[in-house]
Subunit: 200 residues, 2 copies
Amino acid sequence: MAEPIDFYFDFSSPYGYIASERIDEVAARHGREVRWRPFLLGAVFKLVGTAPLLEYPLKGDYARRDMQRAARQFGVPFCIPDGFPTSSLAACRAYYWLEDAAPALAKPFAHAVYRRYFADNQPIEPAAPIVAILDSLGMDKVAAEAALQDPAVKAKLKAEVDAGIARGVFGSPFIFVDGEPFWGSDRLDQIERWLETGGW
Amino acid sequence: MAEPIDFYFDFSSPYGYIASERIDEVAARHGREVRWRPFLLGAVFKLVGTAPLLEYPLKGDYARRDMQRAARQFGVPFCIPDGFPTSSLAACRAYYWLEDAAPALAKPFAHAVYRRYFADNQPIEPAAPIVAILDSLGMDKVAAEAALQDPAVKAKLKAEVDAGIARGVFGSPFIFVDGEPFWGSDRLDQIERWLETGGW
């Protein structure tokens, strides 16, 4: 079987959320798995010298409209949350903890976080709502709370962020197909053509 | 007939060039005309606080690859010119002069400028190459040289740039379909669906 597709995203990224609702289906149509890699976009903004999208004059207004239009296009329930943007530190740590502790739950957890924030307009920070999601998935609450402060989990997240930056990740979503980088949920159709044709 | 589609672009914009090779065909499939509006992206960068794309770390490297990939996808001859980015002042002025003086030549002129720069890797500034293109299209060279310094032409360009900013234009290409804004050559497929369905 071919290499999995790498899907980098920030839990606070609207376009990451929209992609998260489509990417596994696109990949599956071409016999591919997707490896989800949540990361912290804030770390990249500092490096690249960019800022959160909605903070730019003109561009921010457009982006608001564009993300709502993209969500409607694909039938994805979507709002711009009251607490936007948000820290996604707890969600990221929880994801990487789950990847070891209960790997089958990692994607369901990520979907639950994204939908809570962008469909239900509920906060995903600080730790309490993340622990509640983990609890609802059957994880032990005390173990979950401990995991969010576990130095090994923190180190794993830092290593993932550093690895993403080393591969050139500067936005969310950021997707690698056999080493080829694609930035943005609006690249999924292009990715589908890439998978169909083997690239051009 | 429905309102024309407004196509804002900077002659120094790779994605504007790629869109210029496709947009009239997309519009024609849906019985639409396209009104081309060259403008000066530099004026917008100051307002929005953004910078030329290739100047950003990581993002610049990606953009280089992405624009070449997009051009290949649609069979558009493309290079990143040696003198990139460039001023497009003379080309913009010439365009708006032609729109009055010989409107049927305005789009052929714009194609010639874009292809000279992005396909043939030849400069489009200062005035000399622009006057040469005008000359090749049958315009009088002396009149063309005078037009590039004509205060009325300069005022027309300034008014177009201001009007674009007032409508929210902050990048190139920037396209309005019945008032709906679309940013980027990668929005042409979405525009086509919008034209087909009347929007969503």
